[in-house]
Protein backbone atom coordinates (compact mmCIF):
# COMPACT_ATOMS: atom_id res chain seq x y z
CA UNK A 1 0.00 0.00 0.00
CA UNK A 2 1.45 3.37 -0.92
CA UNK A 3 1.71 5.94 1.86
CA UNK A 4 -0.15 8.48 -0.26
CA UNK A 5 -3.58 8.86 -1.79
CA UNK A 6 -3.57 9.95 -5.40
CA UNK A 7 -6.20 11.02 -7.87
CA UNK A 8 -5.82 11.51 -11.56
CA UNK A 9 -6.63 14.98 -12.80
CA UNK A 10 -8.89 14.80 -15.89
CA UNK A 11 -8.00 16.68 -19.04
CA UNK A 12 -10.43 19.47 -18.21
CA UNK A 13 -8.22 22.48 -17.69
CA UNK A 14 -9.12 23.74 -21.14
CA UNK A 15 -11.70 26.40 -20.36
CA UNK A 16 -13.86 27.95 -17.66
CA UNK A 17 -16.66 25.42 -18.06
CA UNK A 18 -14.64 22.22 -18.14
CA UNK A 19 -12.75 23.34 -15.02
CA UNK A 20 -15.96 22.59 -13.09
CA UNK A 21 -14.91 18.94 -13.21
CA UNK A 22 -11.80 19.83 -11.22
CA UNK A 23 -13.90 21.78 -8.71
CA UNK A 24 -16.11 18.71 -8.37
CA UNK A 25 -13.03 16.83 -7.10
CA UNK A 26 -12.46 19.37 -4.33
CA UNK A 27 -14.49 17.61 -1.69
CA UNK A 28 -12.73 14.34 -2.44
CA UNK A 29 -9.35 16.01 -1.93
CA UNK A 30 -10.21 16.67 1.69
CA UNK A 31 -12.44 13.71 2.51
CA UNK A 32 -10.04 11.10 1.11
CA UNK A 33 -6.93 12.82 2.35
CA UNK A 34 -5.46 13.08 -1.13
CA UNK A 35 -1.83 14.16 -1.24
CA UNK A 36 -0.88 13.65 -4.89
CA UNK A 37 -2.42 14.73 -8.14
CA UNK A 38 -1.52 12.71 -11.21
CA UNK A 39 -1.30 15.14 -14.11
CA UNK A 40 -0.54 12.60 -16.83
CA UNK A 41 -3.89 13.06 -18.59
CA UNK A 42 -3.70 16.83 -18.75
CA UNK A 43 -3.11 17.92 -22.33
CA UNK A 44 -3.73 21.65 -22.14
CA UNK A 45 -4.03 24.37 -19.51
CA UNK A 46 -5.38 27.85 -20.10
CA UNK A 47 -4.96 30.79 -17.69
CA UNK A 48 -8.34 30.58 -15.92
CA UNK A 49 -7.81 26.92 -15.09
CA UNK A 50 -4.22 27.52 -14.00
CA UNK A 51 -5.19 30.34 -11.63
CA UNK A 52 -8.19 28.42 -10.26
CA UNK A 53 -5.99 25.37 -9.81
CA UNK A 54 -3.64 27.55 -7.74
CA UNK A 55 -6.60 28.75 -5.63
CA UNK A 56 -7.59 25.11 -5.06
CA UNK A 57 -4.06 24.14 -4.04
CA UNK A 58 -3.78 27.10 -1.72
CA UNK A 59 -7.02 26.21 0.02
CA UNK A 60 -5.69 22.69 0.52
CA UNK A 61 -2.42 24.03 1.91
CA UNK A 62 -4.21 26.37 4.29
CA UNK A 63 -6.62 23.69 5.51
CA UNK A 64 -4.18 20.81 5.88
CA UNK A 65 -0.84 22.53 6.33
CA UNK A 66 0.49 20.34 3.50
CA UNK A 67 1.23 20.96 -0.15
CA UNK A 68 -0.39 18.84 -2.82
CA UNK A 69 2.20 17.10 -4.94
CA UNK A 70 1.87 17.13 -8.72
CA UNK A 71 3.21 13.99 -10.33
CA UNK A 72 3.59 12.71 -13.90
CA UNK A 73 3.33 16.15 -15.44
CA UNK A 74 3.63 15.98 -19.23
CA UNK A 75 6.64 17.91 -20.50
CA UNK A 76 4.64 20.56 -22.39
CA UNK A 77 2.42 21.19 -19.36
CA UNK A 78 5.42 21.39 -17.07
CA UNK A 79 7.10 23.85 -19.45
CA UNK A 80 3.99 25.99 -19.50
CA UNK A 81 3.62 25.97 -15.71
CA UNK A 82 7.28 26.96 -15.29
CA UNK A 83 6.86 29.70 -17.89
CA UNK A 84 3.87 31.10 -15.99
CA UNK A 85 5.80 31.04 -12.68
CA UNK A 86 3.17 28.66 -11.35
CA UNK A 87 5.58 26.85 -9.03
CA UNK A 88 6.98 30.14 -7.69
CA UNK A 89 3.70 30.55 -5.82
CA UNK A 90 4.97 27.84 -3.46
CA UNK A 91 1.57 26.14 -3.39
CA UNK A 92 2.43 22.78 -4.94
CA UNK A 93 5.26 20.28 -4.72
CA UNK A 94 6.53 19.21 -8.10
CA UNK A 95 8.33 15.88 -8.33
CA UNK A 96 9.08 16.49 -12.00
CA UNK A 97 11.62 19.28 -11.74
CA UNK A 98 12.18 20.71 -15.18
CA UNK A 99 15.70 20.75 -16.56
CA UNK A 100 16.47 24.41 -17.44
CA UNK A 101 17.32 23.35 -20.97
CA UNK A 102 13.60 22.70 -21.47
CA UNK A 103 12.47 26.09 -20.18
CA UNK A 104 10.40 28.14 -22.59
CA UNK A 105 12.39 31.18 -23.64
CA UNK A 106 11.52 34.54 -22.15
CA UNK A 107 12.63 36.70 -25.03
CA UNK A 108 10.78 39.91 -25.76
CA UNK A 109 8.98 38.15 -28.61
CA UNK A 110 7.63 35.38 -26.40
CA UNK A 111 6.19 37.77 -23.86
CA UNK A 112 2.57 37.28 -24.76
CA UNK A 113 1.83 36.51 -21.12
CA UNK A 114 1.68 38.05 -17.70
CA UNK A 115 2.91 35.39 -15.34
CA UNK A 116 0.78 34.37 -12.37
CA UNK A 117 1.09 37.17 -9.85
CA UNK A 118 -0.23 37.32 -6.31
CA UNK A 119 -2.40 40.37 -5.61
CA UNK A 120 -2.09 41.02 -1.86
CA UNK A 121 -5.17 41.48 0.27
CA UNK A 122 -3.80 44.58 1.97
CA UNK A 123 -4.33 47.96 0.38
CA UNK A 124 -0.82 49.39 0.37
CA UNK A 125 0.96 46.28 -0.92
CA UNK A 126 -1.84 45.61 -3.37
CA UNK A 127 -1.58 49.03 -4.99
CA UNK A 128 2.16 48.56 -5.49
CA UNK A 129 1.60 45.16 -7.13
CA UNK A 130 -1.28 46.43 -9.31
CA UNK A 131 0.96 49.28 -10.54
CA UNK A 132 3.76 46.79 -11.30
CA UNK A 133 1.39 44.46 -13.15
CA UNK A 134 0.05 47.35 -15.23
CA UNK A 135 3.60 48.50 -16.01
CA UNK A 136 4.44 44.95 -17.17
CA UNK A 137 1.25 44.80 -19.20
CA UNK A 138 2.03 48.11 -20.91
CA UNK A 139 5.50 46.83 -21.84
CA UNK A 140 4.12 43.60 -23.30
CA UNK A 141 0.79 44.86 -24.63
CA UNK A 142 1.94 44.90 -28.26
CA UNK A 143 2.57 41.16 -28.02
CA UNK A 144 -0.29 40.22 -25.73
CA UNK A 145 -2.85 42.10 -27.82
CA UNK A 146 -1.21 41.69 -31.20
CA UNK A 147 -4.43 40.39 -32.80
CA UNK A 148 -6.56 43.11 -31.26
CA UNK A 149 -4.47 46.28 -31.46
CA UNK A 150 -7.00 49.00 -32.21
CA UNK A 151 -7.99 52.32 -30.70
CA UNK A 152 -7.60 52.54 -26.96
CA UNK A 153 -7.59 48.82 -26.25
CA UNK A 154 -4.42 48.90 -24.14
CA UNK A 155 -5.85 51.67 -21.97
CA UNK A 156 -9.14 49.78 -21.72
CA UNK A 157 -7.33 46.75 -20.37
CA UNK A 158 -5.42 48.92 -17.90
CA UNK A 159 -8.79 50.08 -16.56
CA UNK A 160 -10.06 46.50 -16.37
CA UNK A 161 -6.97 45.22 -14.53
CA UNK A 162 -7.10 48.11 -12.09
CA UNK A 163 -10.82 47.83 -11.35
CA UNK A 164 -10.90 44.08 -10.81
CA UNK A 165 -7.70 43.87 -8.78
CA UNK A 166 -8.98 46.55 -6.42
CA UNK A 167 -11.97 44.36 -5.64
CA UNK A 168 -9.58 41.85 -4.09
CA UNK A 169 -8.32 44.08 -1.28
CA UNK A 170 -11.57 46.06 -1.04
CA UNK A 171 -14.10 43.24 -0.87
CA UNK A 172 -12.67 39.73 -0.72
CA UNK A 173 -10.77 39.92 2.60
CA UNK A 174 -8.07 37.69 1.11
CA UNK A 175 -5.37 37.84 -1.52
CA UNK A 176 -5.74 36.63 -5.08
CA UNK A 177 -3.93 35.93 -8.32
CA UNK A 178 -3.77 37.49 -11.77
CA UNK A 179 -2.55 36.02 -15.05
CA UNK A 180 -2.95 36.94 -18.69
CA UNK A 181 -2.11 35.17 -21.88
CA UNK A 182 -2.66 35.10 -25.60
CA UNK A 183 -2.93 31.62 -27.01
CA UNK A 184 -4.41 29.70 -29.89
CA UNK A 185 -7.04 27.02 -29.51
CA UNK A 186 -8.57 25.26 -32.49
CA UNK A 187 -8.49 27.96 -35.14
CA UNK A 188 -9.03 30.89 -32.78
CA UNK A 189 -6.69 33.35 -31.17
CA UNK A 190 -7.71 34.04 -27.61
CA UNK A 191 -6.52 36.60 -25.09
CA UNK A 192 -7.62 35.90 -21.56
CA UNK A 193 -7.18 37.97 -18.43
CA UNK A 194 -7.89 36.12 -15.21
CA UNK A 195 -8.16 37.62 -11.75
CA UNK A 196 -9.27 35.37 -8.90
CA UNK A 197 -9.34 35.34 -5.13
CA UNK A 198 -10.33 32.87 -2.46
CA UNK A 199 -12.08 35.39 -0.26
CA UNK A 200 -15.63 35.73 0.97
CA UNK A 201 -17.30 35.74 -2.44
CA UNK A 202 -19.74 38.23 -3.92
CA UNK A 203 -22.83 37.07 -2.01
CA UNK A 204 -21.23 37.30 1.41
CA UNK A 205 -19.63 40.66 0.66
CA UNK A 206 -23.17 42.00 0.12
CA UNK A 207 -24.67 40.57 3.33
CA UNK A 208 -24.75 44.05 4.91
CA UNK A 209 -26.82 45.39 2.01
CA UNK A 210 -30.29 44.26 2.99
CA UNK A 211 -31.88 46.60 0.45
CA UNK A 212 -30.45 44.55 -2.43
CA UNK A 213 -32.75 41.62 -2.88
CA UNK A 214 -31.93 38.86 -5.33
CA UNK A 215 -33.11 35.28 -5.53
CA UNK A 216 -29.72 33.71 -6.21
CA UNK A 217 -25.99 34.35 -6.24
CA UNK A 218 -26.09 34.21 -10.04
CA UNK A 219 -28.69 37.00 -10.10
CA UNK A 220 -26.52 39.08 -7.76
CA UNK A 221 -23.48 38.58 -10.00
CA UNK A 222 -25.50 39.68 -13.00
CA UNK A 223 -26.79 42.67 -11.08
CA UNK A 224 -23.32 43.91 -10.11
CA UNK A 225 -22.27 43.63 -13.75
CA UNK A 226 -25.11 45.82 -14.95
CA UNK A 227 -25.79 48.17 -12.03
CA UNK A 228 -23.28 50.35 -10.16
CA UNK A 229 -23.64 48.57 -6.83
CA UNK A 230 -21.07 48.42 -4.08
CA UNK A 231 -20.96 46.21 -1.02
CA UNK A 232 -19.12 48.94 0.93
CA UNK A 233 -20.42 52.24 -0.39
CA UNK A 234 -23.66 53.75 -1.64
CA UNK A 235 -22.63 52.72 -5.13
CA UNK A 236 -19.60 51.41 -6.98
CA UNK A 237 -18.35 51.38 -10.51
CA UNK A 238 -15.82 48.56 -10.90
CA UNK A 239 -17.54 45.53 -12.41
CA UNK A 240 -20.14 47.64 -14.16
CA UNK A 241 -17.36 49.63 -15.81
CA UNK A 242 -15.53 46.45 -16.76
CA UNK A 243 -18.69 45.13 -18.41
CA UNK A 244 -19.06 48.37 -20.38
CA UNK A 245 -15.48 48.10 -21.63
CA UNK A 246 -15.80 44.43 -22.56
CA UNK A 247 -18.98 45.29 -24.45
CA UNK A 248 -17.06 47.93 -26.42
CA UNK A 249 -14.40 45.35 -27.21
CA UNK A 250 -16.94 42.67 -28.19
CA UNK A 251 -15.51 40.23 -25.65
CA UNK A 252 -16.92 38.10 -22.89
CA UNK A 253 -16.82 38.01 -19.10
CA UNK A 254 -17.11 34.94 -16.93
CA UNK A 255 -17.58 35.31 -13.19
CA UNK A 256 -17.80 32.42 -10.80
CA UNK A 257 -18.46 32.97 -7.11
CA UNK A 258 -19.49 30.47 -4.43
CA UNK A 259 -21.85 28.07 -6.22
CA UNK A 260 -22.87 30.18 -9.20
CA UNK A 261 -21.49 31.56 -12.41
CA UNK A 262 -22.50 34.15 -14.98
CA UNK A 263 -21.20 34.47 -18.53
CA UNK A 264 -21.83 37.62 -20.50
CA UNK A 265 -20.99 37.35 -24.16
CA UNK A 266 -20.94 40.57 -26.17
CA UNK A 267 -20.80 39.57 -29.78
CA UNK A 268 -19.91 42.28 -32.26
CA UNK A 269 -20.05 39.93 -35.22
CA UNK A 270 -23.77 39.26 -34.91
CA UNK A 271 -25.62 42.58 -34.66
CA UNK A 272 -23.77 43.51 -31.43
CA UNK A 273 -25.92 41.12 -29.41
CA UNK A 274 -25.32 40.42 -25.75
CA UNK A 275 -26.19 37.09 -24.21
CA UNK A 276 -26.08 36.30 -20.52
CA UNK A 277 -25.95 32.80 -19.12
CA UNK A 278 -26.48 32.03 -15.44
CA UNK A 279 -25.54 28.79 -13.74
CA UNK A 280 -26.61 27.92 -10.22
CA UNK A 281 -26.08 25.01 -7.87
CA UNK A 282 -22.50 24.47 -8.95
CA UNK A 283 -20.08 22.83 -6.55
CA UNK A 284 -19.01 25.40 -3.96
CA UNK A 285 -15.64 27.06 -4.53
CA UNK A 286 -14.22 29.84 -2.37
CA UNK A 287 -13.95 33.45 -3.49
CA UNK A 288 -14.55 34.99 -6.87
CA UNK A 289 -12.99 34.00 -10.17
CA UNK A 290 -13.22 36.37 -13.10
CA UNK A 291 -12.09 35.99 -16.66
CA UNK A 292 -12.21 38.49 -19.51
CA UNK A 293 -11.76 37.01 -22.96
CA UNK A 294 -11.41 38.32 -26.49
CA UNK A 295 -11.34 36.00 -29.47
CA UNK A 296 -10.56 36.55 -33.13
Amino acid sequence: MPDYNRITVPNTLKDTYSFEEIINLREKLFSENISQLDMSRVGFIEPYSMVSFAILGREYLRNTGKKLTLVNIPLNINQYLYRMDFFKTGIFENTDKLDPKYYFKRSSLSKSVIEITEIPGKERESIRVISDVIATFRKRADNILKYWLFGSIVDYFVTVISEICQNIFEHSIDSGFLAMQTYSYSSEHIVRLVISDSGVGIRESFTGKKEISVDSTASLIEKVLTTPLSSKRDFGYGLCQVNTIVEKLGGSIYIRSDDASVSVVHNKKYNSTTKTFQKTNLAPFPGTQLSVTLTT
Partner: protein, 196 residues
Protein backbone atom coordinates in the same frame (compact mmCIF):
# COMPACT_ATOMS: atom_id res chain seq x y z
CA UNK B 1 3.74 74.87 -4.87
CA UNK B 2 5.55 73.55 -7.91
CA UNK B 3 2.55 71.73 -9.24
CA UNK B 4 0.43 74.83 -9.29
CA UNK B 5 1.06 77.53 -11.82
CA UNK B 6 -0.98 80.66 -11.54
CA UNK B 7 -1.41 81.73 -15.14
CA UNK B 8 -3.68 84.58 -14.19
CA UNK B 9 -5.64 85.76 -11.22
CA UNK B 10 -8.62 83.63 -12.01
CA UNK B 11 -7.15 80.31 -12.94
CA UNK B 12 -5.16 77.72 -11.06
CA UNK B 13 -3.60 75.12 -13.34
CA UNK B 14 -2.77 71.77 -11.84
CA UNK B 15 -0.68 69.42 -13.93
CA UNK B 16 -1.65 65.92 -12.86
CA UNK B 17 1.58 64.42 -14.22
CA UNK B 18 3.58 66.90 -12.16
CA UNK B 19 1.45 66.21 -9.12
CA UNK B 20 2.01 62.50 -9.72
CA UNK B 21 5.76 63.00 -9.66
CA UNK B 22 5.45 64.90 -6.38
CA UNK B 23 3.55 61.95 -4.98
CA UNK B 24 6.15 59.50 -6.35
CA UNK B 25 3.73 58.03 -8.88
CA UNK B 26 5.78 57.11 -11.94
CA UNK B 27 3.06 55.45 -14.00
CA UNK B 28 1.07 57.29 -16.70
CA UNK B 29 -2.07 55.83 -15.11
CA UNK B 30 -3.99 57.33 -12.22
CA UNK B 31 -5.68 54.37 -10.67
CA UNK B 32 -7.18 53.14 -7.39
CA UNK B 33 -9.11 54.87 -4.64
CA UNK B 34 -6.13 55.33 -2.28
CA UNK B 35 -4.19 57.11 -5.04
CA UNK B 36 -7.23 59.29 -5.75
CA UNK B 37 -7.50 60.14 -2.06
CA UNK B 38 -3.83 61.15 -1.85
CA UNK B 39 -4.20 63.41 -4.91
CA UNK B 40 -7.32 64.99 -3.46
CA UNK B 41 -5.60 65.61 -0.13
CA UNK B 42 -2.73 67.30 -1.93
CA UNK B 43 -5.01 69.58 -3.97
CA UNK B 44 -7.35 70.25 -1.03
CA UNK B 45 -4.41 71.58 0.97
CA UNK B 46 -4.01 74.25 -1.70
CA UNK B 47 -7.61 75.38 -1.75
CA UNK B 48 -7.09 77.78 1.13
CA UNK B 49 -5.56 80.26 -1.31
CA UNK B 50 -8.31 79.96 -3.89
CA UNK B 51 -10.30 83.07 -4.77
CA UNK B 52 -14.03 83.27 -5.15
CA UNK B 53 -14.98 82.47 -8.74
CA UNK B 54 -11.59 81.01 -9.60
CA UNK B 55 -11.28 78.04 -11.99
CA UNK B 56 -9.07 75.05 -11.28
CA UNK B 57 -7.85 73.61 -14.55
CA UNK B 58 -6.87 69.97 -14.13
CA UNK B 59 -4.40 69.23 -16.90
CA UNK B 60 -4.23 65.51 -17.72
CA UNK B 61 -1.49 65.80 -20.35
CA UNK B 62 0.66 62.63 -20.43
CA UNK B 63 -1.90 60.75 -18.32
CA UNK B 64 -3.15 57.69 -20.18
CA UNK B 65 -5.81 56.19 -17.91
CA UNK B 66 -7.80 57.59 -15.02
CA UNK B 67 -9.90 54.77 -13.62
CA UNK B 68 -13.33 55.06 -12.05
CA UNK B 69 -12.01 54.62 -8.51
CA UNK B 70 -9.64 57.55 -8.94
CA UNK B 71 -12.40 59.59 -10.56
CA UNK B 72 -14.69 58.95 -7.58
CA UNK B 73 -12.04 59.92 -5.04
CA UNK B 74 -10.46 62.83 -6.86
CA UNK B 75 -12.48 64.47 -9.63
CA UNK B 76 -15.91 63.95 -8.09
CA UNK B 77 -14.79 65.02 -4.64
CA UNK B 78 -13.20 68.13 -6.08
CA UNK B 79 -16.43 68.94 -7.93
CA UNK B 80 -18.45 68.49 -4.71
CA UNK B 81 -15.92 70.61 -2.84
CA UNK B 82 -16.20 73.35 -5.49
CA UNK B 83 -19.94 73.51 -4.83
CA UNK B 84 -19.75 73.52 -1.05
CA UNK B 85 -16.58 75.49 -0.36
CA UNK B 86 -17.03 78.91 1.20
CA UNK B 87 -15.17 80.30 -1.81
CA UNK B 88 -17.10 79.05 -4.82
CA UNK B 89 -14.67 77.73 -7.42
CA UNK B 90 -15.00 75.86 -10.69
CA UNK B 91 -13.37 72.78 -12.14
CA UNK B 92 -12.31 72.34 -15.75
CA UNK B 93 -10.57 69.35 -17.30
CA UNK B 94 -7.95 69.46 -20.00
CA UNK B 95 -6.10 66.98 -22.27
CA UNK B 96 -8.20 63.93 -21.47
CA UNK B 97 -7.46 60.60 -23.16
CA UNK B 98 -10.33 58.74 -24.83
CA UNK B 99 -10.35 56.11 -22.09
CA UNK B 100 -10.42 58.71 -19.36
CA UNK B 101 -13.35 60.45 -21.07
CA UNK B 102 -15.19 57.14 -21.29
CA UNK B 103 -14.51 56.40 -17.62
CA UNK B 104 -15.67 59.83 -16.47
CA UNK B 105 -18.84 59.59 -18.56
CA UNK B 106 -19.54 56.17 -17.15
CA UNK B 107 -18.94 57.16 -13.52
CA UNK B 108 -21.13 60.27 -13.83
CA UNK B 109 -23.87 58.21 -15.47
CA UNK B 110 -23.69 55.62 -12.70
CA UNK B 111 -23.74 58.32 -10.03
CA UNK B 112 -26.79 59.87 -11.64
CA UNK B 113 -28.63 56.57 -11.97
CA UNK B 114 -28.02 55.58 -8.36
CA UNK B 115 -28.26 58.96 -6.70
CA UNK B 116 -30.85 60.70 -8.86
CA UNK B 117 -28.58 63.72 -8.75
CA UNK B 118 -26.82 65.36 -11.67
CA UNK B 119 -23.07 65.78 -11.97
CA UNK B 120 -21.11 67.29 -14.84
CA UNK B 121 -17.81 69.00 -15.56
CA UNK B 122 -16.44 71.40 -18.15
CA UNK B 123 -13.67 70.38 -20.54
CA UNK B 124 -11.42 72.52 -22.69
CA UNK B 125 -11.99 70.37 -25.77
CA UNK B 126 -15.11 69.46 -27.67
CA UNK B 127 -16.23 65.96 -26.71
CA UNK B 128 -19.21 64.67 -28.67
CA UNK B 129 -20.01 68.24 -29.72
CA UNK B 130 -20.00 69.52 -26.17
CA UNK B 131 -17.62 71.20 -23.76
CA UNK B 132 -19.19 69.33 -20.86
CA UNK B 133 -19.16 65.73 -19.68
CA UNK B 134 -22.10 64.53 -17.62
CA UNK B 135 -25.79 65.15 -17.24
CA UNK B 136 -26.40 68.22 -19.35
CA UNK B 137 -29.42 68.71 -21.60
CA UNK B 138 -28.98 69.60 -25.26
CA UNK B 139 -30.11 73.17 -24.56
CA UNK B 140 -27.64 73.32 -21.68
CA UNK B 141 -24.88 72.18 -24.02
CA UNK B 142 -25.93 74.88 -26.50
CA UNK B 143 -25.53 77.52 -23.80
CA UNK B 144 -22.10 76.20 -22.78
CA UNK B 145 -20.95 76.14 -26.40
CA UNK B 146 -22.32 79.64 -27.00
CA UNK B 147 -20.52 81.00 -23.93
CA UNK B 148 -17.35 79.25 -24.96
CA UNK B 149 -17.32 81.33 -28.13
CA UNK B 150 -18.83 84.57 -26.81
CA UNK B 151 -17.31 84.39 -23.30
CA UNK B 152 -20.32 85.99 -21.60
CA UNK B 153 -23.99 86.76 -22.21
CA UNK B 154 -27.07 87.90 -20.33
CA UNK B 155 -30.05 85.66 -19.68
CA UNK B 156 -32.05 87.67 -22.23
CA UNK B 157 -29.43 87.11 -24.94
CA UNK B 158 -29.29 83.41 -24.14
CA UNK B 159 -33.09 83.07 -24.19
CA UNK B 160 -33.08 84.71 -27.61
CA UNK B 161 -30.29 82.40 -28.78
CA UNK B 162 -32.17 79.34 -27.58
CA UNK B 163 -35.50 80.72 -28.79
CA UNK B 164 -36.96 79.79 -25.44
CA UNK B 165 -39.03 81.58 -22.80
CA UNK B 166 -37.05 83.62 -20.28
CA UNK B 167 -38.40 81.57 -17.36
CA UNK B 168 -37.21 78.32 -18.89
CA UNK B 169 -33.82 79.84 -19.76
CA UNK B 170 -33.40 81.26 -16.23
CA UNK B 171 -34.13 77.84 -14.75
CA UNK B 172 -31.63 76.22 -17.11
CA UNK B 173 -28.95 78.79 -16.28
CA UNK B 174 -29.53 78.30 -12.58
CA UNK B 175 -29.02 74.57 -12.99
CA UNK B 176 -25.86 75.04 -15.09
CA UNK B 177 -24.52 77.42 -12.49
CA UNK B 178 -25.25 75.09 -9.60
CA UNK B 179 -23.50 72.28 -11.47
CA UNK B 180 -20.45 74.51 -11.91
CA UNK B 181 -20.76 74.69 -15.69
CA UNK B 182 -21.18 78.47 -16.02
CA UNK B 183 -20.05 81.39 -13.87
CA UNK B 184 -21.92 84.55 -13.10
CA UNK B 185 -20.67 88.09 -13.06
CA UNK B 186 -22.67 91.11 -12.02
CA UNK B 187 -22.59 93.81 -14.69
CA UNK B 188 -23.99 97.33 -14.51
CA UNK B 189 -27.66 96.43 -14.43
CA UNK B 190 -27.62 92.78 -15.16
CA UNK B 191 -26.13 89.41 -14.33
CA UNK B 192 -23.84 88.03 -16.99
CA UNK B 193 -23.27 84.33 -17.49
CA UNK B 194 -19.71 83.45 -18.40
CA UNK B 195 -17.75 80.48 -19.70
CA UNK B 196 -15.63 78.60 -17.17
Amino acid sequence: MEAILLSNRYRMIISLSRLARELKVTSPDLITRPMGRSFFKKVASRLSCIQDGETILLDFEDIRVVDSSFIAEFIMKLIFESQSNTQRFYVKLSSLSDTTIMNIESVFKSYHSMNNSKIAVITDELINNSYAIGQVSDKGKDIINYLNINKSASAVELASFLQEESGYTAHLLEELHSLGLVKTETGRNTVLYCAI
